[in-house]
């Protein structure tokens, strides 16, 4: 075997492995897509089908008529954008302090931040609901967004990233008389673009995926968000799975699309290798 054919063989193996991995990740989503296009009879067939025999778009019509998914998606979009932007700001500020500043009780305060991730959301649900209610924020965008504007997770993510930046940068900037905020704004943040991108995508999708909180604090269809729509398609006594899957596919599309479009930017940010400086 000569070297050229050996590299070719290695490439084939690489592609085979890559494709196998991709199939394992993507299959459940393809399965949902397939079911969403099947008739009720075909969905119950044995052996189970993956690819529908007759494409049927009726399920999508049913899904949209059973739940106002369009309005829900708009609300989710507004809420997710606000929360994402706010989290980027609060987390950058906090992470900067933890990564570059020296102050007393730093470790303890950092632990206090982290501890917010450890408190079970189920036990804060009712007290937070009562707080929001006492502020008359029920059924408002601020009620849907403000409680989520700070993020320990995001702070931690950015702190880890800032820590990988060479510390000399900070010292050099200080010698230049560059203020802390200026340093954060014009040096640290631009370098942290990949991490900010990751946090942005993460925050957006996490907010998009909320269920229990929006259900609790909204009272009208016009303020509802998209995951509640999935619930609306299901009913314990009689669930039509192909219609539910159509709903799942509809609400998956925007987040997957965000990812496909954002991924390019994300990968570009990642490969630009900001760290190497």
């Amino acid at each position: 075997m000569n070297a050229a054919s050996r590299t070719r063989a290695a490439k084939v193996v690489q592609y085979a492995l890559l494709t196998l991995g991709a199939l394992m990740i993507v299959f459940p989503i393809l399965y949902a897509l397939g079911l969403s296009l099947m008739s009720g009879g075909e969905a119950a067939a044995y052996p189970p089908h993956i690819i529908p025999q007759h494409f049927q778009l009726k399920n999508f019509v049913s899904a949209v008529s059973e739940a106002p998914l369009g309005r829900f998606m708009l609300n989710s979009f507004i809420v997710s954008v606000i929360v994402t932007l706010a989290q980027l700001v609060t987390a950058s500020l906090a992470a900067y302090a933890f990564a570059f500043m020296e102050f007393p009780f730093k470790k303890i305060i950092f632990l206090v931040f982290l501890s917010t991730m450890m408190i079970p959301g189920e036990s804060t649900l009712i007290p937070n609901y009562l707080t929001i209610r006492s502020w008359h924020w029920i059924n408002t965008y601020q009620g849907l967004t403000v409680p989520f504007m700070a993020t320990a997770f995001g702070t931690f993510l950015l702190r880890q990233f800032f820590l990988t930046l060479p510390h000399d940068l900070f010292d050099a900037a200080r010698i230049d008389g560059c203020g802390r905020l200026r340093f954060l704004w014009s040096i640290a943040l631009p370098m942290a673009r990949p991490a900010l991108g990751t946090l942005g995508v993460y925050a957006f999708i996490n907010t998009w995926n909320q269920y229990l909180w929006p259900l609790l604090i909204t009272n009208s269809t016009s303020m509802r968000t998209v995951q509640i729509g999935i619930g609306m398609l299901q009913f314990q006594d009689a669930t039509t799975w192909n219609v539910v899957m159509a709903g799942v596919v509809i609400i998956l599309l925007p987040s997957l699309l965000t990812l496909v479009l954002g991924q390019k930017q994300l990968v570009k940010g990642l490969t630009s290798g900001a760290v190497k400086g």
Binding site: G40, G41, A43, A44, A45, Y46, P48, S65, E66, A67, I78, V81, I82, L85, A86, L88, V89, I126, Y129, L130, R133, H136, W137, I138, N139, T140, Y141, Q142, G143, T145, V146, W185, L189, P190, R193, L212, L215, L216, N219, S220, T221, S222, M223, I228, G231, M232, L233, Q234, F235, Q236, D237, A238, T239, T240, W241, V243, V244
Partner: protein, 450 residues
């Protein structure tokens, strides 16, 4: 510089976002009524899928024909989600509220509603046209607290085509536990590497409650909690043990299979002809018929019984409508008008046709829409007959406790222990009864019930 620009855009977006936050709230006013305009009735419900669509079209019709009352229909998640939300802040509740059957006791104890009976007496509303068995479930001391709405009963579904193939009479479905077992044996087969089980039912506490009633046994003491507040669970009675013994034996014999708690799993298996018989709510007949179309014929039979208790029958399930009491009088009156309208024969017929729930207004069966429905699904009559054939007593009225949700989960766990060989029927049910009893007593203590 490009990076600068991105950041600039980002900050502009943030400012816009904050403006949105402060400017976009719709806010909530104490009562959404405008002077002189129509009265708004807020109606929380937990219907999903097709039933939700049917309810929406009914309410649309109401709004179109009533200029003085407008109903705002709001989906509040599952029954439990909606219930939890109301518990968290009763003053933010709706005018009209759909609660599941087993939430009745708590609704009464918490005193959140104006009894339906007050409105009925005041406007001399005629209840005689309603199914008595359904009314009895929701009545306390002859007083109706809520208006029954979506109502179902469990039935046995069987695959007639498979019955024929197995040499059984497709018009003679099994009626007792022993017959189910016998037929299941005959129906169980392996053909072409594919196994068919004669029977399977979801691990669903509602089914256990129904079997118990069918065999004449109480769920809790003090007349099923209807003579006075229950203090003790009775699920570990001989009837209860018999149900689980039968259930487990069929699985051990390989003529039934365990498909878990989700009824959707047994429904799918029935549609795919992996099981020949199953137990489920009468409401899913249209769904199952779609799944079976072109493949096999579906038969319906009454819920099988374990003994010869002739003076008994199953309970009902579903939900009812409550009018909350902390709302202005005018809104409550308007809500009552909505309830009356919804339970009229024409609307009830449309409800049954759209959802498979029972027509609880007897006159609904005379509506043409219902007749057409029955012509399409003739076997649906079995479900209605079962309702009519059930005698009225404490057993068939059903248990009434404030902790029914957790009791049901406890029983489901006991069934799992038995089916998965972790405990004998007697031991599992003894433990379940003990746990339910202590939950009842704790509830009575915190609610101040003696």
């Amino acid at each position: 510089m490009k990076k600068r620009q991105t950041l600039k855009i980002l900050s502009v977006l943030l400012v816009l976002g904050l403006l949105l936050v402060t400017g976009c709230g719709t806010g909530t006013t104490k009562s959404g009524q405008t002077a002189g305009g129509p009265i708004t009735v807020t109606f929380w419900h937990s219907m999903g899928g097709v039933p939700a669509k049917t309810l929406t079209s009914l309410i649309d019709k109401f709004n179109a024909t009533h200029k003085d009352i407008q109903v705002k229909l709001v989906y509040q998640g599952s029954y439990d989600d909606a219930f939890n939300k109301l518990k968290a802040s009763p003053d933010q509740g709706p005018d009209l509220f759909q609660v599941y059957d087993i939430g009745t006791r708590y609704m009464i104890d918490a005193g959140l509603a104006t009894p339906m009976q007050n409105f009925i007496d005041q406007s001399k509303f005629d209840l005689s046209q309603f199914e008595p068995h359904v009314l009895h479930y929701y009545q306390v001391g002859g007083k109706l607290y809520s208006m029954p709405f979506n109502t179902s009963v469990p039935v046995l579904y069987y695959n007639k085509t498979m019955f024929k193939a197995a040499g059984l009479d497709p018009n003679k479905p099994p009626l007792t536990f022993a017959e189910v077992e016998k037929d299941a044996k005959a129906l169980t087969a392996t053909s072409g590497g594919k196994k068919v089980y004669g029977f399977s039912q979801a691990i669903y506490g509602w089914f256990f409650e129904q079997y118990l009633a069918r065999d004449g046994a109480l769920y809790v003491n003090n007349g099923n909690g209807r003579d006075k507040a229950a203090t003790e669970s009775l699920v570990n009675s001989p009837a209860g043990v018999q149900i689980l013994t039968w259930w487990k034996k069929m699985i051990d014999d390989g003529v039934a299979t365990n498909l878990g708690r989700q009824t959707s799993a047994t429904q799918a298996a029935f549609g795919a002809q992996q099981i020949a018989m199953t137990i489920d709510s009468c409401g899913i007949l249209p769904n199952l018929t779609t799944a079976a179309a072109g493949k096999f014929q579906i038969g319906i039979a009454p819920l099988p019984r374990g003994n010869d208790a002739t003076d008994s029958g199953p309970i009902i399930g579903g939900g009812s409508l409550w009018i909350l009491k902390n709302k202005p009088k005018a809104e409550q009156e308007a809500a009552w008008k909505v309830v009356q309208w919804l339970t009229q024969p024409a609307q009830m017929a449309a409800w049954t046709v759209g959802t498979g729930y029972l027509p609880i207004n007897k006159a609904a069966v005379n509506e043409q829409t219902y007749k057409d429905f029955l012509a399409k699904y003739p076997s649906y009559q079995v479900a209605l007959d079962q309702l009519h054939n059930t005698p009225e007593n404490r057993v068939t009225e059903g248990g009434r406790i404030g902790v029914f949700t957790s009791a049901r989960a406890t029983v489901e766990n006991a069934i799992e222990q038995v089916v998965l060989n972790k405990a004998t029927p007697q031991a599992a049910l003894d433990a379940a009864a003990k746990k339910i009893t202590s939950a009842i007593q704790e509830y009575n203590q915190t609610m101040g019930i003696k």
